[in-house]
Symmetry: C2
Subunit: 364 residues, 2 copies
């Protein structure tokens, strides 16, 4: 077994979820992640914990969804009962065929997600959970990389010194936490201003996502003004929205266009009132990620990106008494800020062309 | 997908467990059984049931057991909670490497089994469950067969007309249920007599095992007399007992020998008082199974075999008021009755050289 698989398992069990002997652990993984599952079981045995193994099988899920009547999806009582007794959840992504569910009716996918919501909420509220990625040939193909190069890419991003990463990110938290105003400018298409006054800045140092690597906050809902053009496609229900552009006035999207699948973007905005406002501003900080690969878990952590999410705000960023943007959706969209770009906080440039003020090579 | 996989799934969902729209179903399967899992999910979707998928992963189980301290195994609370909400369990066997756990300390395997006992009891008492087999190259290798031949063998045994099989077996039930005395004679080494007076005969037509195919009853505990030599090896904790021979007097084993690993046989007999008596007499009836393969699920159903179990009796065979042979163990051992053999019931020959009285070619 690749030593990096064991290191990955150690980070998941030790750093991300801090598993101890009293923990009931649920691992959810596809068969293609067999090596990581074995390494996780070994580590969990060393910790004296109690793992159970759920098989993420998209081929089976597709067959089931296609055979089911859309009205028949209901919450799985045994899954919910198990989650109530679960302390730690380790979710491993990794495709055998990333297009496996492309011929499932989106209405059934939505019905399945709705039925599963109580299990999801139980996980979010009462477990320590983490989502990670095991390198597979199919995901390499989607990234247009060889399997070896994709494998190197994944481990460069996940097998990091997360204590050092936390310190690095603290420098950005110290800027963003007390900030009142943020402006993001990139090329011709993006010049967006917002207030983050009174909001808290959070730091993801790989406790819930591995790789981690972002600092995030919540815009004051009515404060967002300007326009933004997204450089990466947004995937929803198997369809890609390309070249999406949003215009904000008084915090709300007043105009939107897309080069492809604009109707998907429209349907996102029409979800509810909160879906027309921003719920999150995130700034990527992971220097182990050096390219876009079409996998959001990595793309949004990349050190030269800003992501904005339409919809529900991140709870930990909004103190009591501050307005919380509530929505049934949360759709992350990325801006590449590696060139001809800057992030300003309270009128001062804190990042230019992807380089932070506290990094070497910053040209203020 | 091989059509026989879909047929196998239909029999499991329809005949064996009769799954309906109100059922929470647990499928437990190894990754190598992917095709059967997909076919099961499709069928369960058609039935409107709610499946969840547990991944049987021996490689992970081995890594975990080796890393664990033998004293640390405890019942998994999330597994037990899930089983309490489960209506139907479909367990699929199928090896990637049948020797995968050969370097796990048997004491740890036993500790793991003890810890899992509450989950096992919950399954036995409150779910409809079935155990079956998916054909894999590793199991073909163990049977010394090509993968194609093993695959044909498995489907010939499982994809049968089970209604017709039930009728076939009823002929044997009608003989065995009212019987008082049974005698099994085979070659030089086996001549065993017992009373089954007042005991019930049960018929396995594939409700808990697929393949099914046996008729069974419980000997009156103190009635067994004579000797028996077992033709197939018995596997316990990864070791094979070969050429086991038992001598019974007054129902109890008074002498035992084995050609190999006799100490394993001794330890079975020493489990408790009930382990020195017979708990089951089973007669194989599945004519789709035409050879021994070293897989008990198939061997004990073969139409030319008798199996005897040391230890705990089959509950449904022992009416209230009759003596029940209780034991913590139940070890099935096989006699090949295809040649130079006969089964007598109340003094009449009901099977000679593997052919039943109600079959063509019977030579009374």
């Amino acid at each position: 077994m690749d030593d990096r698989v064991r290191r990955h398992a150690e980070i998941l069990v030790d750093h991300c979820t801090d598993v101890g002997p009293d923990d009931d652990v649920l691992i959810s993984a596809p068969a293609t992640a067999d090596d990581l599952v074995v390494a996780l079981y070994e580590r969990l045995g060393e910790r004296g914990a109690r793992p159970t193994l759920s098989w993420r099988n998209r081929r089976a899920g597709r067959a089931y969804a296609r055979a089911m009547d859309v009205d028949d999806f209901r919450t799985k009582g045994h899954d919910l009962a198990a989650m109530r007794e679960t302390d730690v959840v380790i979710m491993v992504a990794g495709s055998t065929n990333a297009a496996e569910t492309s011929d499932v009716d989106p209405a059934k996918a939505a019905a399945s997600a709705r039925a599963n919501r109580p299990v999801l909420e139980e996980r979010l509220e009462s477990t320590r959970w983490v989502i990670t990625q095991h390198p597979t040939p199919a995901d390499a193909q989607r990234a247009e990389m060889s399997t070896a190069a994709w494998t190197d890419f994944v481990y460069d991003a996940v097998n990091r010194d997360w204590a050092a990463q936390r310190e690095f990110q603290e420098q950005l938290v110290e800027i963003l936490d007390p900030a009142a105003a943020v402006r993001v400018v990139s090329g011709e298409g993006t010049d967006l201003s917002m207030s983050v006054d009174g909001m808290r800045a959070g730091s993801d140092d790989a406790t819930r996502n591995l790789p981690g690597g972002e600092v995030f906050t919540a815009p004051v809902p009515d404060s967002v003004e300007g326009e933004v053009t997204f450089d990466l496609p947004v995937r929803r229900h198997g369809r890609e929205v390309r070249d999406a552009r949003l215009v904000f006035e008084g915090g709300e999207v007043v105009d939107h266009t897309a080069g492809r699948n604009e109707d998907v973007l429209t349907s996102v905005l029409d979800t509810d009132e909160g879906a027309r406002r921003l719920g999150e501003l995130g700034i990527g900080t992971n220097r182990g990620i050096d390219r876009f690969t079409g996998t959001l878990l990595f793309d949004e952590k990349m050190g030269d990106t800003v992501h904005l999410a339409l919809g529900n705000a991140v709870e930990e960023c909004v103190p009591d008494g501050r307005e919380f943007n509530a929505s049934a959706t949360h759709v992350d969209m990325l801006v590449d800020v590696s060139e001809d770009s800057r992030i300003e906080v309270d009128g001062e440039v804190v990042q230019r062309d992807g380089t932070f003020r506290f990094e070497e090579g910053f040209d203020g």
